[in-house]
Structure formats: structure tokens, C-alpha cells
């Protein structure tokens, strides 16, 4: 996928930086709650970006990224809770811890492919809540009750609310991570990663150290999603085992598939999307239960489930991929981009 | 009298690659026809095309019915039996089960047992191994099983893809002899694809020669056998 220089992305970025500053003019639009919501969208985008690195760009299916998110979140939480570490210092440590965990999982995963890898990661995701409640870890993890934290303080006496500061903090982190990912993917390493996805045997025989690339990609992917988890620990100021169950992985999957498999920009779209749907579904559910008095517990997962299935038929390339396809059919693309686009389309639509 | 099987202007594709360009032939009821040609000429593809196992264009008519586009299993239910390359026996099923599965689609259940007995009379070796797992049979026995199974479909037309492949010469002779018997006694017409041109021309009444997806020669096998080009290219003298 062509990296950073996309006009709409620059525009989005500018808007993202400037709009919250318009708070004095539009206090209702740029409320604390809205900023918090958008912060969670940014965090979601980072998480989906992590998953996309592994599944979209390197072809290794993971249903278990909720595990890495949990590791990141709990690492940050424990560091802040037990060691009184400042919130920003937890990010690099969480990244390293998750990289190691991801790399270690990537080692046995070398032998697995397709359905089997999906199964192994599925098993991982299913067991995470129980692992987090393990008695011997209770002192660290707070067991079922979890750990209560505090939101990041606004530094240097800046005239911002906590939610505004959190928003910019997350935004800057995401921009840095996005930029880093774009650079990795545009480099020789990135091409090797994608070569492994598309033509594994050819890559292998061409001398690419496929094992190294696959395990390292697993590590980097886990690190990204882990950073998202660490950010969420600060943002929500709370971690508990049951929030890191398999359904979180489903949300990541939605982000991946809706936004675009193998698309960085798509990861952002996907993250925003699943947070939006999740929140709307909650609002709808409350409406149905309280206002309409109907005994139905609606949940976003019905929408997610239907979307997952429908998209596989209609838009296997996701929203961003679909838009690109449309744009491409309207103007001719130059050489390497067109080839990449064609490979991507072939990859996801078989 | 309309031919049993009429093929006209047949094209066949494996994905994007075209394999048959213009194949046409006819099979009369009762005879044995053979398709000859070098490796890659399109013989196996032709058999597969008749059963809609590859993408086809053109005309294929069996007993007047158009076969193009019909699902394979429906074509088989019209009483065309295909003995594929490599026999296609169900290796984890027993000999008995391999035969019974062919009887699965038949309506006349009562006749099935009688047919089983007749099949065993053609291939007594199979009767000895009736409960044995098909995968443990020898190559020759598996070929017999494949033909026996095809017989259990009570076919009007049998398609055979390289039945001699990988078999010892004595076994091949025995199998070909049985094929002639089946053709005469059961009134099963046959379309035989063979690499072993000499054997095929001995058995068949009619022959077609394929080259890179086209029919280049046809006629009664006695004439084709003596054609100079055929002798040089396929018979080695």
C-alpha cells in the first residue's frame, strides 16, 4: 500500500490536531466525553494496526491479539500501580514486553498456518481471562477485581482538561507508530514481509530468512497492539480480566476487515468504525431496554457478526481497499502501485 | 441412427489455460473407440470435459442430451461411467464398499446383488478380497476394482483413462480381455484413452488421434493402425 503521502490522511491529521483547540468556540461539539471517545478510537486504530501488520501484511492469521492487548494493559497497570511509574514510561516497557511475548508465540507459530494458526491464537484468546485470574499472580494483577488507576495528569500546567491531554497524547503516539509502520513497510524488510504473505515458497527460495521475519513480525505486531493496551489502561484508568476476553479479538477482526486487510490507513478507519458501532449499539440497547421496555439485550456483536460475513462476500478488501479500487478504476495508477493493488486484490478475494 | 455420444467443436480450459481447441468425434452404440495421442495432447482432458470436470465450451450430446454445464454427478446418473487416471478407488473403504457406493444411485435395488455376482464373475480376484481395504490392493487389482465399480453403475458408456498405466504387461492383457468381454456381454460402449497405442488399436474398433488439443486423424482402427504417421509416432516402427 502506498504509505503516508495521501491527501485525505493529511487532511484528517490536520483536523485531528486543530479541532480540539476550537473547544472555546464549540464547547458542546468538542466535549470532554467526545474527546475521550475519539481517544478510544485512536487506541483502537493502533490495536488494529498491530493486527494488520501480522495478518494483513505478513499473512499470519491471528485471533488472539486480545492477549497482547491484555499483556500491554496489565504491564502498564502493574508498573503504575506497584512501582508508581509515570504513565508515559510504561509505554516503551509495555512495548518491549509485548514484543518478547509476541516473538515467543511466533516461534511455535512458525510451524502453523491458516486454520491451525487461527486455532492456536483462538485458544490463546480464550484462556487469557483465566490466566489473568491465576492465584499466584493475584498480588500483581489484582485478581478478579483488577487494578484501579488514575488518568494521566496534564503536564507543565498546560491549559487543557485531562481528556484533552489524553487525546493529544494518544494522537501523537499513533502518528509516530503509523509513521514507523509505514517506513518499515516501504523498506526492504517490508517487501520481504509481504513476499512471505504472497508467495511463501518463492520468498524462502530467494534467500529471505522467512523464520526470522515471521517471528519478528509477530513481535512487532504484538508490541503495537500491546502499546494500544497500555494506552487504554491509562485512558480508562482501570484493568480487569474479563474485559480482555475473546470478544475483544472479534472487535480487532472487524477493524481489520472493515478497514482493509493490508492497509495502514484502513486500520485507522477500522478502529474508528468498531468503536463507533460498539458505542451506538450500547446506546441502542439501553434505549430498547429502558425506553421501549423490551426484554432484549442487544449487542454490537450481532452487527459485527453480520458485517464479518457480508463483507467477505461483498467487499473482501474492506472500505479503504474498496475505495482505492474505485479510485483506481477512475484513473490509471503508476506501475508499482498498480501491481501492489492487483496483488492485494488477488490475495483477499482468492 | 444417432450416435451414442457426439462431440463437436469442444474447447476445454484449466483455469485460464486452454487445453482443447477443437475436438470432435462420435461414438456409435456398442463399439469401443480409442483416443490416442502423445502426453499433453488432451486425451485425459477430453474425458474430463465429457464429465464436466473442467471448464468447457462446445457441444457434447449423449443420447441426444446436451451435457455441457451439467454437474458431474448428474452426468454420471445418465449412465456414463468414468474410470479416471490413477483408478480413483476409495482407499479407506473396502472392496465391497467401493462396489456398493456405485450402486448408491441406482433405483433397481433388487438387481444390485445379481450385478455384484456378475461383476465377481468377471473379476474373481476381487471376490477373494471382498472385505479388504481397497488401498492395500495391488495396482492391477485396483484397476479391476475401478472397472468393476464402473460396471455397477450399469453404464451405457464407459470412459477409461489409461487403464494400462503402471501395470505389468500380463495384467494389462488380462484386463483388456475382460474389457472386451464386458463390451460384448454387457453391451457397454467404451471410450478408451491410452498411451499404449498398440494395445488400444488391437482392442478398439475405431480410433481418433489427438495432437495439441485437436483431432488430426480418425477412422477404423485397422486403417489407423497401418497409417504411416501413426506407425512412426505412436507404434514405433
Amino acid at each position: 500500500m502506498p504509505a503516508f503521502p495521501k491527501t485525505w490522511l493529511w487532511g484528517l491529521l490536520a483536523a485531528a490536531f486543530l479541532i480540539p483547540l476550537l473547544r472555546p468556540l464549540l464547547p458542546d461539539l468538542v466535549s470532554d466525553y467526545r474527546l475521550f471517545l475519539v481517544s478510544t478510537m485512536i487506541i483502537a486504530s493502533i490495536a488494529v494496526l498491530g493486527l494488520n501488520l501480522l495478518t494483513g501484511f505478513n499473512g499470519q492469521i491471528s485471533l488472539g491479539h486480545s492477549a497482547f492487548y491484555a499483556v500491554g494493559a496489565y504491564t502498564a497497570a502493574i508498573l503504575m500501580d506497584k512501582l508508581d511509574m509515570p504513565y508515559y514510561a510504561t509505554l516503551p516497557i509495555a512495548a518491549v514486553v509485548c514484543f518478547i511475548v509476541g516473538y515467543l508465540f511466533g516461534l511455535p507459530a512458525l510451524k502453523l498456518e491458516g486454520h491451525y494458526l487461527a486455532l492456536a491464537t483462538f485458544a490463546l484468546a480464550l484462556s487469557v481471562p483465566q490466566i489473568l485470574k491465576y492465584k499466584w499472580l493475584e498480588d500483581l494483577t489484582g485478581g478478579v477485581q483488577g487494578i484501579v488507576l488514575s488518568k494521566p495528569e496534564v503536564p507543565f500546567g498546560l491549559p487543557l482538561t485531562e481528556d484533552q491531554w489524553l487525546y493529544y497524547y494518544c494522537l501523537v503516539i499513533m502518528v509516530l507508530l503509523y509513521w514507523a509502520a509505514a517506513n518499515i513497510l516501504n523498506s526492504r524488510s517490508g517487501r520481504a514481509m509481504m513476499a512471505i504473505r504472497d508467495q511463501y515458497l518463492a520468498a524462502d527460495t530467494m534467500g529471505i530468512d522467512t523464520s526470522l521475519y515471521k517471528t519478528v513480525t509477530f513481535g512487532i505486531s504484538a508490541a503495537y497492539t500491546g502499546i494500544a493496551g497500555a494506552l487504554s489502561a491509562s485512558a480508562i484508568a482501570f484493568v480487569a480480566p474479563d474485559s480482555f476476553n475473546f470478544f475483544l479479538s472479534i472487535k480487532f477482526l472487524i477493524g481489520l476487515v472493515v478497514g482493509g486487510v493490508g492497509s495502514l490507513a484502513g486500520s485507522v478507519v477500522g478502529g474508528i468504525f468498531y468503536v463507533l458501532v460498539d458505542n451506538s449499539a450500547q446506546a441502542l440497547s439501553t434505549f430498547v431496554k429502558n425506553d421501549l421496555g423490551l426484554p432484549f439485550d442487544l449487542s454490537a456483536y450481532t452487527v459485527f457478526g453480520i458485517l464479518l460475513i457480508v463483507l467477505m462476500y461483498l467487499m473482501p478488501m474492506g472500505v479503504v481497499g474498496g475505495v482505492y479500487y474505485l479510485a483506481r478504476s477512475m484513473r490509471t495508477m503508476r506501475g508499482p502501485q498498480a501491481k501492489e493493488q492487483a496483488t492485494l486484490k488477488q490475495r483477499v478475494s482468492g | 441412427m444417432a450416435a451414442l455420444l457426439e462431440v463437436k467443436g469442444l474447447k476445454a480450459f484449466y483455469g485460464q489455460t486452454q487445453s482443447l481447441y477443437d475436438v470432435g468425434f462420435e461414438i456409435e452404440t456398442g463399439g469401443i473407440t480409442t483416443l490416442l495421442g502423445a502426453n499433453g495432447a488432451g486425451k485425459t482432458t477430453t474425458l474430463r470435459a465429457i464429465c464436466n470436470m473442467v471448464r468447457t465450451e462446445g457441444a457434447i450430446r449423449f443420447e441426444g442430451r446436451d451435457l455441457v454445464g451439467m454437474p458431474t454427478e448428474e452426468i454420471v446418473r445418465l449412465r456414463i461411467a468414468h474410470v479416471p487416471e490413477g483408478r480413483g478407488t476409495f482407499t479407506t473403504l473396502t472392496v465391497d464398499e467401493n462396489l456398493r457406493i456405485a450402486a448408491y444411485t441406482r433405483r433397481d435395488k433388487a438387481a444390485v446383488q445379481a450385478d455384484l455376482d456378475r461383476v465377481f464373475s468377471y473379476f474373481p480376484r476381487l471376490k477373494e478380497r471382498i472385505q479388504q481395504q481397497a488401498g492395500t490392493l495391488s495396482g492391477g487389482e485396483q484397476q479391476m476394482l475401478a472397472i468393476a465399480r464402473a460396471l455397477m453403475l450399469k453404464p451405457r458408456l464407459m470412459l477409461l483413462d489409461e487403464p494400462s498405466f503402471g501395470l505389468a504387461p500380463l495384467i494389462v492383457v488380462e484386463i483388456f480381455r475382460i474389457m472386451r468381454r464386458i463390451n460384448e456381454e454387457e453391451k457397454v460402449s467404451m471410450l478408451l484413452v491410452e498411451q499404449n497405442a498398440a494395445l488400444a488399436l488391437d482392442l478398439a474398433d475405431h480410433a481418433y488421434v489427438l495432437e495439441t488439443g485437436r483431432v488430426v486423424m480418425s477412422g477404423p482402427s485397422s486403417i489407423v493402425k497401418n497409417d504411416e504417421n501413426v506407425r512412426k509416432s505412436y507404434l514405433g516402427y
Binding site: S127, W136, D297, L308, I309, G350 | E73, L93, E97, I101
Partner: protein, 301 residues
């Protein structure tokens, strides 16, 4: 000693459940090469159907049969409508679709019947059933029902023409077509049967774990472990694997409990069963993917 026997007995009862779900997984895997991640949720949904039927007045066994039949039809429908068009799609698409099914089954069940945990009755009479001190009435009933269902399935596949056709279609679809078998319908029937077997498991286990939309999550993981241990391509192996995992997890928890009683040190207990299953899954997948009885599929280059 009595406690030990009780643990084995309850392990067998749990194992019976895992064996059913494992069998359902393997049936689908053998015929379509797909792993049905939604198996647990489908079973749970059918169990809710049976609960609903009972709350409308039907007796247990009538509701049981109706729910299993419904499950069969649901399985056939899912295969024909949702999966058939995707049969040549890339693996990721198929995995995504299964996860989608999982999400739909779970959330719709929660939507219709809420996430409140419900009690589920046991059809096995408390007084006359069971061997006192060793195995409870429901547990014994579960094992018996499971064995009956497995026996019926085995007989079906071994001795009936339709069962033979399904076996042939699973083993060599193209050759099966060449003997006139309508392979597409065989796959759909296979799905229906797998769904039905899953439903049996769900209904049997509901009394033990209580009815709630998330009840099958852990069970599915154990079933995967069982199927892998037995060999994911081998139905008989899957059943055996399910029983093995059931007994094994109980033994591990039991051993942990005994150690804790003796030394006061808690190493492992009931709360770590899923972790044990995870370890089994990873271990088998990486070390011996063929399991005990399966055959390793060599990838053709």
C-alpha cells in the same frame, strides 16, 4: 479413594461432552478442511431453543429431539447458504466468516434470552439413577446418552448407504461425483449432523454449567484439545481424545487440590483448566500435529 473415583467419573462425564463437540469439529474438518470456530455457540443456541420449548410446556425429551432436529436443519442451512459460495475463498475469509457466525449466535442468544444465568433441568431421576458416592445421576446419564448417540452415528456411517456415500464424499469428493454421489448435499448433511451432535452436547452439559450465552466457550477449547489429541482427521480418535482431556483436566485439578491440602501451596486448581487446555492445544499443534491416531498430511509443494 472414593474422591478419586468421583473425579474419574466426573472426568468421564465432562469427557463425554468434549467427545461430542470434538466429534462435531472433526466431522466438519474431515469433509471440508474447515475448523468450525462457531461450533460451541451453535450448540449453545440449540440448547436455548430446547429451554424455550420446555418453558412452553414440552417435556424434556421432546424438546431435546426438537432442538436437535432444529440444529440439524440450521447446520444444513449454514453450509448451503453461507459456506457453499465461499468454498474456494482464501483461508482468512473463511475464518472470518466462522467468527462472524460465532458472534451472531452468541449475541442473538443473549439478545433473545438475556445474559442472566438460568437453571437447566436434568432428565435423569435423582433417586434411582447413579452409583452413590461414585457417579451422580446426571453424570451417568450424560455418559449413557453420549454413548448412545455416538453408537447411532457409528452405525449410520458404517452400515447405511447414505453413510457410505458421505464417507466417500469426504474422502475423495471428485471420485464420489464420478459414482453419482451429490457431494454438495453430502457436505450439507455432514454439517447438519455435526450441528446436531453439538446440540446434544450443549443440552447435556447445560445442567452442569448452567445455561448462559457464554457457557460453551471453555468447552469448545477443551473439545479442540480433545480433537487434536486424538488426531483432528480421525473421528474415533476425536471421541477418545475428548474423554482423555475430560479425565486429564479433572486429574490435574484433583492433584492440585491434594497438593494444596497437604502442603498449603496452591499450584493449580479448577481455575486453571483452560490454561491446561491451551497448553495441550499448543503442544499438540507444534509437537505432534497428527495427534495419537491421525495421519500427518504432507503438504505437496
Amino acid at each position: 479413594m472414593e474422591q478419586f473415583l468421583q473425579q474419574i467419573a466426573s472426568g468421564l462425564a465432562n469427557g463425554a461432552i468434549y467427545a461430542c463437540v470434538a466429534l462435531a469439529l472433526v466431522m466438519i474438518y474431515v469433509s471440508t478442511d474447515h475448523i468450525n470456530f462457531a461450533q460451541g455457540e451453535m450448540a449453545m443456541f440449540s440448547t436455548y431453543i430446547s429451554w424455550q420449548l420446555m418453558s412452553w410446556g414440552l417435556s424434556f425429551w421432546v424438546a431435546f429431539i426438537a432442538a436437535v432436529a432444529f440444529s440439524f436443519m440450521l447446520g444444513v442451512l449454514i453450509e448451503r447458504v453461507i459456506l457453499r459460495p465461499l468454498h474456494s475463498a482464501p483461508v482468512l475469509s473463511i475464518v472470518v466468516v466462522f467468527i462472524g457466525l460465532l458472534a451472531i449466535c452468541n449475541s442473538v442468544a443473549g439478545a433473545i434470552w438475556s445474559y442472566l444465568i438460568k437453571e437447566y433441568p436434568s432428565p435423569f431421576p435423582k433417586s434411582s439413577f447413579g452409583i452413590a458416592g461414585v457417579i451422580g445421576p446426571h453424570q451417568l446419564g450424560v455418559v449413557i446418552v453420549t454413548l448412545i448417540v455416538l453408537g447411532l452415528l457409528f452405525a449410520f456411517f458404517r452400515y447405511t448407504p447414505l453413510g457410505l456415500a458421505m464417507r466417500a464424499a469426504a474422502q475423495n469428493p471428485q471420485m464420489a461425483r464420478l459414482v453419482g454421489v451429490r457431494v454438495d448435499w453430502m457436505l450439507a448433511l455432514g454439517w447438519g449432523l455435526a450441528a446436531a451432535v453439538g446440540a446434544v452436547a450443549g443440552i447435556m452439559v447445560a445442567h452442569i454449567v448452567y445455561l448462559d450465552p457464554n457457557m460453551m466457550g471453555g468447552i469448545l477449547l477443551y473439545a479442540f484439545a480433545g480433537a487434536l489429541v486424538g488426531g483432528i482427521g480421525n473421528p474415533g480418535g476425536a471421541v477418545l481424545g475428548g474423554f482423555i482431556v475430560g479425565v486429564l483436566e479433572n486429574m490435574v485439578a484433583f492433584a492440585g487440590n491434594q497438593i494444596e491440602k497437604a502442603t498449603g501451596v496452591y499450584i493449580i486448581g479448577n481455575g486453571e483448566k483452560l490454561t491446561v487446555a491451551l497448553i495441550i492445544v499448543i503442544f499438540v499443534l507444534t509437537v505432534k500435529p497428527a495427534g495419537l491416531f491421525g495421519r500427518v498430511v504432507v503438504k505437496r509443494v
